[in-house]
């Protein structure tokens, strides 16, 4: 799927261009020494009907005097596990599954159709700081939104050890005009050997959210040039490179 980003330069000229993730894939796969490949398949081990909680709930026993009731039930289940394998559904255990929908279940392992979500914010020392309705981040890189140069140009040799660039995307032109647009950006950044901080939102200072519901990241644009070819990389970061706090 082609993804688009609307990018403006320092003169506030914007263009819609494409981008792709630069997440590298592993070059090594697992297989037999002969070179024969294998495939991985997801299978069902058990369902909620075979969970310990469900299996315990079927016993209609009365507490025995002097015995912990939970232990009494657990002992009964242990006997059944050994003798009648209630934890295995012969029709389902080992069945291949491809598509699984996501549902919320309650403590009785029944599906829940009306839910309330609470977002809890914790401090670095695991103290609860705030409870709030979950914040949903809408993507701010295309459509009505424009990603802008902030004017903050940071030399590579000064920024490389200040931030942790976790994610990378490559920007590409869609036609001749946008080729020029991006080539010039890449050239300027390459000539200055620097990264340009980018930002979005109405204020032009907000971190970028690449997908609806995604995390916000600070973004930096790097340009490289080879002849009449260019390479524009968008570096995303949500972390400064700094040591762990001392306890």
């Amino acid at each position: 799927m082609i993804r688009y980003i609307k990018l403006a330069n320092a003169n506030k000229r914007d263009a819609e261009i494409t981008f792709k993730s630069l997440n590298p894939k592993s070059a090594v796969t697992m297989g037999f020494a002969s070179g024969e490949q294998v495939v991985n398949k997801r299978v069902i081990k058990s369902t909620s009907s075979e969970s310990t909680q469900s299996l315990l709930s079927v016993y209609d026993e009365k507490p025995t005097e002097g015995v912990d009731f939970q232990m009494q039930l657990a002992g009964r289940l242990a006997e059944d596990l050994i003798h009648s394998d209630p934890e295995i559904d012969l029709e389902l255990t080992g069945k291949f599954i491809d598509e699984v929908s996501r549902v919320y279940i309650n403590e009785d392992q029944k599906p829940v159709f009306r839910i309330n979500k609470v977002e809890k914010i914790f401090s670095p020392t695991a103290e609860l700081k705030e409870e709030r309705a979950p914040k949903y981040n809408e993507s701010n890189i295309s459509g009505e939104n424009i990603v802008s140069w902030t004017g903050k140009l940071m030399p590579k040799v000064k920024v490389y050890n200040k931030l942790v660039f976790a994610k990378k995307y490559q920007l590409k032109h869609v036609n001749g005009l946008t080729y020029d647009f991006l080539f010039e950006m890449a050239k300027e950044l390459a000539d200055k050997d620097a990264l340009m901080m980018l930002a979005g939102g109405a204020s032009g200072k907000e971190p970028l959210v690449m997908n609806d519901g995604g995390k916000p990241y600070r973004a930096f644009l790097e340009g490289r040039i080879k002849g009449d070819k260019y390479c524009l990389m968008l570096h995303l970061t949500d972390q400064e490179l700094k040591p762990l706090p001392t306890e």
Partner: protein
């Protein structure tokens, strides 16, 4: 002392403990909890075939041969893209890690997975002197022996030394013959540090 790894370059050898730098311990974190109408806590589960509820841990991955037979992981080896077996890369704790000098561009091509802070008891200043001069060192990182190692770089920030691990991406240079000179962008070089919010809650 915890497990240590030995790093070596140009006759300089240092022994370091690698301590993972968890973002949570710097900025904190947020988590979303879900409740039903009775304020009972809910969990996410799978729903297969529209009727089977699969709580966490209800499924597993099995490996099958081309004949459809279940294969044990111990029967498998790592294969390169041409299908040839590859040697295992030892853990950084089981060998002396040989460093080589790298460029900033090479480091900037790294998609970062983890950050480790190095606790060094002896000769830290010697290594710090090299890194504070702007040098970056490359090595192959494996926490445990495996068929593929991660790309990793040693660098300094302030008085601390970090190992940044991940995988090098391969950005491509793209071109188009019909190019026009249209935009000239001027941007001031900014070197002062701004107070940017990295918690971003």
């Amino acid at each position: 002392m915890a497990r240590t790894a030995e790093f070596s370059i140009n006759g300089l050898s240092v022994v370091a403990e690698l301590k993972k730098v968890d973002r949570k311990k710097i900025y904190g974190w947020s988590s979303i909890e879900v409740y039903d109408e009775n304020k009972s806590k809910c969990k996410i589960a799978g729903l297969a075939d529209g009727r089977y509820i699969l709580p966490s841990g209800s499924t597993s991955l099995v490996t099958l041969s081309t004949k459809g037979e279940v294969v044990s992981k111990s029967e498998l080896v790592g294969l390169d893209p041409s299908g040839k077996p590859v040697d295992k890369v030892p853990s950084v704790y089981d060998r002396t890690v040989m460093l080589r000098e790298a460029t900033v561009d090479e480091y900037l091509s790294l998609s970062v997975k983890s950050v480790y802070q190095l606790n060094i008891e002896e000769k830290k200043e010697d290594l710090l002197k090299e890194l504070n001069a702007g040098k970056i060192f490359y090595f192959v990182f494996n926490y445990r022996e495996d068929y593929e190692g991660d790309d990793a770089f040693l660098l300094s920030s302030g008085n601390e030394i970090f190992a940044i691990t991940g995988m090098l991406s391969e950005p491509e240079f793209v071109g188009l013959q019909d190019n026009e000179q249209e935009l000239v962008v001027q941007a001031a070089e900014v070197t002062e540090e701004d107070d940017l919010d990295f918690a971003m809650f």
